[in-house]
């Protein structure tokens, strides 16, 4: 329970900090580029997730790490 409260407090604090960061809408030229998207190539990311899910004991993080394969 204390951990949950801590996590919520931490997130709120983080968001309060976030309010002073960022750019104006007209300063988004670089951020709008395809190579600046968090996932540049969805198919490549899905391929990597599938390979590492099959060969390692960890999955997910960037997205969902659920089932979908008999390989692990």
């Amino acid at each position: 329970m204390n951990r949950t409260v801590g996590l919520v407090a931490f997130t709120l604090l983080l968001c309060a900090g976030c309010a002073s960061m960022g750019v104006e809408p007209w300063e988004r030229d670089v951020l709008a580029k395809q190579e600046m998207q968090l996932t540049t190539d969805e198919l490549e990311a899905a391929t990597d997730d599938h390979i590492y899910f099959s060969k390692e004991a960890s999955s997910g993080g960037r997205g969902f790490g659920g089932g979908g394969c008999g390989c692990n």
Partner: protein, 435 residues
């Protein structure tokens, strides 16, 4: 009125509006017009060294934009898998014979060789569909479904994600869940855990089909820090329930002093295992927690993409993953992208190289190398370019290497002098085409 006429009228009205507003936009209608499909396709070869797993895979993601920023995404992947995978049994100084998972035949492994199960051949077809649309001015919802089918495995899943922008869209909070319902139909039926591998034709310890479900939650925050830097942090929770055991993996039952696998007495005229092997057993539940952080930084054309993930679970596995990509453009429409990935994990609490006969048989045990203690490194290079007809192509070549070790406390007698961990070397070659 025909569609064409309507279009020309709306274009004329829009042009008139722009003129009135003094705007220089020439064709504002286009922004709201429904576009054709976009395709992202790839061919993949994944090959492990020696006789181990090879995968040829074809994938495509098709996306269609509708008016008001709504998207439909459809995906398909077809995998063709061949090759052999470590069975979990340990090397011996003599040849070993195993009953195949089907229970219908046997195969042998030479002295000193790591036992690989070579019955691993499968075709996998995976489908997915997703729908994304804005909800109000500053939020977005995404719902999806997935299904996949292998010879011995079926998956169905649903997922949903909600994202809310704040602070002039500089901060995005998101929350999502995914539920997956999978059924396993192992060749020959799933074996009763921790029972011995039996003679060819003896299926008395087979349970039949099994199932498992996985529930995932993810919470994330994305923050634009500056014109050149965006960061993301996610927490994810994953709970698996059901049959989490690998029905094809075994453990060697060994002499508590010598560490050699116990020989099994064979009935004359009957084919069967030469030594004593037990089918593995994993707990029926697993809870994982992950923290993931990513940063993308633009440096006068070059882009650094760095991420880190920490995962911990109630099987006592902890892992760290660092992933680095650096995109270097050259010319107007080409780039190189070196990639490095480092991974390390600790072994599951029930990971055992073998089961010594001097100890009672544990409730849970697995010799699956993927639950062991190992490090992995991926190093690769991607080359991407824009074709003459303005499409995007890319080729990437990567090498993946796993090196593991078995804790010395788990080594018995002769095992100390043997190479116990099945190291892995693989090549990943992927060609991508977007149009």
């Amino acid at each position: 009125m025909s569609r064409k006429e309507m279009r020309s009228i709306s274009a004329a009205l829009a042009a008139a509006t722009c003129t009135l507003l003094g705007s220089g936009i020439s064709a504002p209608v286009d922004a709201q017009e429904e576009q054709a499909w976009d395709f992202n396709t790839s061919l993949l070869y994944y090959g492990e060294d020696g006789d181990r797993v090879k995968d040829f895979s074809v994938s495509a993601i098709a996306r269609r934009m509708f008016v008001d920023d709504r998207y439909l995404t459809l995906g398909i992947t077809v995998d063709g898998l061949t090759g052999a995978t470590p069975s979990g049994a340990i090397r011996q100084d003599v040849a070993q014979t195993f009953t195949r998972p089907s229970g219908n035949a046997a195969y042998s492994v030479a002295a000193g060789v790591l036992p690989l199960d070579d019955t691993f051949k499968d075709t996998r077809v995976a489908l997915s569909a997703g729908w994304q649309q804005p909800v109000g001015e500053t939020s977005l919802i995404n719902v999806g479904a997935s299904a996949s089918k292998e010879y011995d495995y079926t998956h169905f899943g649903v997922n949903a994600k909600y994202a809310q922008d704040f602070n002039q869209r500089n901060t995005t909070l998101s929350a999502g869940f995914a539920y997956s319902f999978d059924s396993l139909e192992p060749v020959g039926g799933a074996p009763t855990p921790l029972t011995p591998m039996l003679d060819v034709g003896d299926t008395s310890n087979r349970l039949g089909d099994q199932d498992k479900d996985v529930l995932d939650f993810i919470f994330g925050v994305t923050q634009v820090v500056s014109r050149n830097l965006v960061v993301q942090a996610n927490y994810s929770y994953s709970k698996s329930d059901g049959y989490l055991t690998d029905p094809y993996k075994v453990l060697s039952l060994v002499d508590g002093t010598s560490g050699d696998t116990l020989v099994r007495s064979l009935t004359p005229g009957v084919e069967g295992p030469s030594h004593q092997f037990l089918f593995e057993n994993r707990p029926g539940e697993r809870t994982k927690h992950s923290i993931y952080g990513q940063a993308k930084y633009y440096m006068s054309g070059k882009v650094l993409d760095a991420s880190y993930r920490y995962m911990t679970d109630d099987w006592e596995i902890d892992s760290h993953t660092v992933d680095l990509r650096y995109r270097i453009p050259f010319g107007a429409d080409r780039y190189f992208e070196p990639h490095l990935r480092f991974y390390t994990q600790t072994e599951a609490e029930f990971y055992m190289l073998s089961i010594p006969d001097s100890l009672p048989i544990p409730s849970f045990a697995s010799a699956d190398y993927r639950l062991g203690n190992f490090d992995a490194i991926t190093a690769g290079l991607k080359y991407g370019w824009r074709t003459r007809n303005d499409k995007e192509m890319s080729v990437r070549l990567e090498a993946y290497r796993q090196t593991g070790s078995v804790p010395s406390s788990q080594l018995t007698g002769n095992q100390a002098g043997r190479d116990n961990y099945p190291d892995l070397n693989a090549v990943i070659l992927q060609v991508g085409y977007r149009f």
